[in-house]
Symmetry: C2
Subunit: 313 residues, 2 copies
């Protein structure tokens, strides 16, 4: 019996095929499926190919999927869910179950790191999102409204601040930061003039900006004050999201699992983790911080298995 889980983000999507004992049987990576950037046919094609390759990667023949779960970033309104469900149901080249689950990726992120059935998840990838569920089943989201409305603390947010810092360093509005030279190097240009023609050219977008968050961590390690400030403010925004979620569900004083996923939390001794942990310990004393080590799409797989067991089909 096989289960399919999808973790769809702004930069990439992971798809996992697993058995009922949670063993990964096949994996694939494909492009972004963040529904505020990827729509209709492109979304269908990306998911279809990803599922096909995950099944192919398993080397199994004629796989029947018992239950699937799609955790997709940016899913928000009922019409979003309906649209993605329609797209998933239109995939006929691979054999999916007749009742795919469509969820916001932050919901799957929570399940990825805890089996308690409640807690808070914070996603800091290209964008950011926070999901909280109380012991009593109440739910809430904080942030997760995309790069125009929120995304504070995510990679895009950090990268944009890096670009602003580089500009201000260039024209003397702030003290020189090594971020300026690092940005030039990253994009293979010699000056701000050349950078301008890269940045305002077609094809330069959210992903290119989000990638600069890695560079910001490097600059911070080299002792750059501006990089430190940017990362600290990103961590503060993530903490504010968690704190707001906990407050809304009256969980501030409770013990709960806080599941932290996404690129920003990836590095064990990374600065965002360090700043984040410090602030969480001050604000939510009984939160149990978890950085899941399983694969990103395992949250969706676990939900698919849970649902199968509960519904016995």
């Amino acid at each position: 019996m096989y289960f399919l889980g999808v973790d769809g983000g702004g930069t990439k999507t992971q798809i996992i095929l697993a058995d009922e004992n949670e063993n990964v049987i096949g994996v694939s990576f494909t492009g972004p499926t963040y529904i505020r950037s990827v729509f209709g046919d492109t979304l269908k094609k990306t998911l279809e190919e990803g599922i096909f390759f995950a099944i192919q990667n398993s080397h199994l023949k004629d796989v029947k999927i018992a239950r699937s779960c799609f955790g997709i970033a940016g899913l928000d309104s009922p019409s979003d869910f309906a649209e993605v469900l329609k797209i998933v149901k239109s995939i006929t080249s691979v054999r999916l179950d007749p009742h795919p689950l469509i969820l916001n990726d932050a919901v799957c992120a929570l399940r990825r790191g805890t089996n308690k059935g409640y807690g808070i998840s914070i996603v800091a990838g290209t964008g950011s999102n926070c999901y909280a569920r109380s012991k009593f089943g109440a739910e809430t989201f904080v942030g997760g409204l995309g790069h125009t409305l929120s995304d504070e603390g995510g990679g895009y947010f950090v990268g944009l601040n890096v670009l602003h810092a580089a500009s201000k360093s260039f024209d003397g509005r702030i003290e020189k930061t090594i971020l300026e030279e690092m940005v030039y190097e990253e994009f293979g240009v010699l000056s701000m003039r050349d950078l301008l023609s890269k940045v305002y050219r077609d094809g330069f977008g959210k992903m290119e900006i989000a990638r600069l968050s890695i560079l910001c961590e490097e600059a911070n390690e080299k002792g750059d004050a501006k990089a430190h400030e940017i990362l600290q403010s990103a961590a503060k925004e993530l903490v504010l999201m968690v704190k707001t979620g906990a407050k809304k569900l009256d969980m501030i004083l409770d013990e709960f699992d806080l599941v932290c996923v996404g690129g920003s939390f990836k590095r064990e001794h990374g600065p965002i983790r360090k700043f984040f942990e410090k602030e969480i310990k001050e604000n939510l004393k009984r939160a149990n911080i978890i950085y899941p080590v399983n694969e990103p799409a395992m949250g969706a797989v676990l939900i698919a298995i849970d649902r199968y067991k509960v519904l016995k089909r």
Copy 2:
């Protein structure tokens, strides 16, 4: 003898036909010509139509333009200037002079407000830009690198902060601000859910965001603390630009004309003006703040006339 001046910004472009005594003979308004958003054929068409209508508006027959000056936002690298010059020279349906001047709009903004030949101009329209010229002819730009790299303090910057504030007010990350309800009303939606589908739809861009700066001023007047904070920080960014320009050219202690143009400075008792003036008086005691009352494109017209007189052709 007639002179043509162009003031091209991120939201609109004004074109003026004037005589040698600086009398406005014809005016037209056309779409944006900001060269980081509008390129090639679209730019040509916008300029061509604008010039045509300005001439038509003058009710003169067979106008010969002695000299023209194009002040265009976003002009930066030598290749930008070359490209716009090529576009302008390719306009053959109206009779332009053989030697059009192509300048950054901030350079024309300075001339619009002063005839001293030196000083600082600050443009706060959709984007922002600062240009400084010393008594000794040294020049520098601060900011003006477009919405991805800078544009701090401009309408887009303010509007983006309004959207972020509305999101944070919606999900409880900050105290309720009337900006949230005002944003819903502005876009004719009832909730954040509906706003999401507007914001991430094709056709929602910089102009729609920049327009929210007006709303921010209204909220400030109603006593909203968040709106106050956003406008104050925008003014601070504009002051930082001016201060940096003055510092780079060693003009901090000098007396000079500070020419302030663009939508943000439009309202005589507007909050940005108020915050800006307060900070300028503290930082650049001898700066003589000027809000020109002539038409935006008059700066370009005056430069065209100056140049004609100097070169006698």
